[in-house]
């Protein structure tokens, strides 16, 4: 076991993890943060996306030990029922959520884009969301929601 220090959703943790343990396993099983979903488990679908030190990563391809010393945001740290993040609000308003499995990863990719770029173009939105797959919606509403969130945020 290795001891690692993480800040997850603004709370510091010290964890003892297995060397082969992935970040997604540590988040879900040790911290009980079940909002991070495992889809393909091989970096194709983006359902497990979290923000690590300001960048989106697939938490299924990062070892927990690699994240030692990092600051991580999961969907639980983005907003909640009472005060949803503008991206979450827009997703609900537009109807960009169907089964919802890809949504946490989608929201984190969108939030990360808007954190860096207040007025993204449609191309920039497309690129930022290209690592997240959705099998229900056909993407149109998701991209529209990100655009609306950007417009709201820029006001």
């Amino acid at each position: 076991m290795i001891e690692i220090n993480l800040v997850v959703n603004e709370k510091p943790y010290t964890l003892n993890v297995e060397p082969s343990e992935r970040l997604i396993d540590a988040l879900r099983n040790r911290l009980g943060l079940l909002g991070t979903k495992e889809g393909c488990g091989e970096g194709e679908c983006g359902a497990c996306t979290v923000i690590m030190d300001g960048k989106t990563v697939n938490s299924c391809l990062v070892l927990a030990a690699q994240a030692n010393g990092s600051v991580i945001t999961t969907i639980e740290g983005v907003g909640n029922r009472r005060s949803p993040h503008p991206v979450q609000k827009a997703f609900v308003e537009v109807g960009a959520v169907q089964c919802g499995f890809c949504t946490p990863g989608m929201v984190l990719s969108a939030k990360n884009l808007l954190d860096r770029n207040l007025k993204p173009s449609e191309t920039e939105i497309g690129i930022a969301m290209s690592g997240n797959l959705c099998r229900c919606t056909g993407y149109d509403k998701i991209l529209r929601a990100v655009k609306i969130a950007a417009e709201e945020g820029a006001k």
Binding site: P19, G41, T56, V57, L61, V62, A65, G131
Partner: protein
């Protein structure tokens, strides 16, 4: 399994010499291979905390890229954009934003997939690889290194890449099944020098048409020292098709790739040849 997280190159090399362990770069391949059981290392040396390995800088006529520079770092770097355009292009389309944030150029070489996106541009640009172990330091042309089996000794660290600053024009294109996240089915990188109206030292590298990316000697010969015009381009297309046919033999993908490569080759040259001739 043991896990080491050194903070300096020296410490990493010392651990590699004494412990039976594999270097871990970004992990986008290795973490997956560990999970599927394809590799079962008895130890891991995580290079993620060796910050000096992430540097991208210019020294002594070379663009120096640390092995732990990520595809995202490279794709956003002005130095890479200005001095290694083909590599910069490859970094825009490799994987997805999440993968580019994690995956490194050194890891791309270490894993050495036939379809590795970073290798054809590095080959075309004449990159050398800086290798280190506790006992030995070596700078070797990437083209030479890719001829070695095994590629690297277990204790050998990829310190970084050195791309000579030669005012090359370069370009990269790949064929994937879709725009994002696609593993290259075929990739082409081209670099050349322009002397008045002639092109010199043309270097064409191909990916995903063999066990490893390779430079084509014959394309170099056929295309160097000539005037850049439509005829030149068509000659290149015929030759690149011949090379792919030869390299793939009777493989199932051969008929497809043999035809497809002509489009990918033309696309790789798009940034070099504009309608008015050679791009300034």
């Amino acid at each position: 399994m043991k896990y080491f997280q050194p903070h300096s190159v020296e410490d990493a090399l010392e651990i590699a010499q004494t412990a039976e362990a594999t270097f871990l770069a970004g992990g986008t391949d290795l973490v997956l291979h560990m999970r599927t059981g394809k590799v079962q290392p008895s130890g891991i040396i995580d290079l993620g905390k060796v910050s000096v390995l992430r540097e991208i800088k210019i020294t002594d006529g070379f663009l120096n890229i640390g092995s732990m520079a990520t595809f995202a770092d490279l794709g956003k770097s002005e130095l890479v954009l200005r001095n290694a355009y083909a590599l910069w292009q490859a970094c825009q389309t490799m994987g997805s934003p999440q993968i580019r944030n994690q995956a490194t150029l050194g890891g791309n070489l270490g894993n050495c997939s036939p379809a590795a996106d970073g290798l054809p541009p590095l080959l075309a640009l004449g990159a050398e690889v800086h290798l280190m172990s506790a006992e030995k330091e070596e700078i070797v042309p990437l083209a030479t290194l890719l001829g070695r089996t095994p590629l690297l000794g277990q204790e050998t660290l990829i310190r970084g890449f050195c791309i000579p600053l030669k005012e090359l024009k370069s370009g990269f294109a790949k064929l994937g099944r879709r725009r994002a996240l696609a593993i290259a089915r075929l990739s082409v990188a081209v670099a050349l020098e322009v002397n008045e109206n002639k092109v010199e030292n043309v270097r064409v590298a191909l990916g995903a048409v063999g066990r490893r990316a390779f430079l084509s000697e014959s394309l170099s010969q056929v295309l160097s020292g000539q005037e850049l015009n439509q005829e030149w381009l068509e000659k290149g297309v015929l030759e690149v098709q011949r090379i792919v046919r030869e390299a793939l033999g009777t493989r199932a993908s051969a008929p497809y790739k043999r035809v497809a490569v002509s489009g990918v080759f033309r696309e790789a040259l798009e940034s070099i040849i504009t309608e008015g001739g050679i791009q300034a």
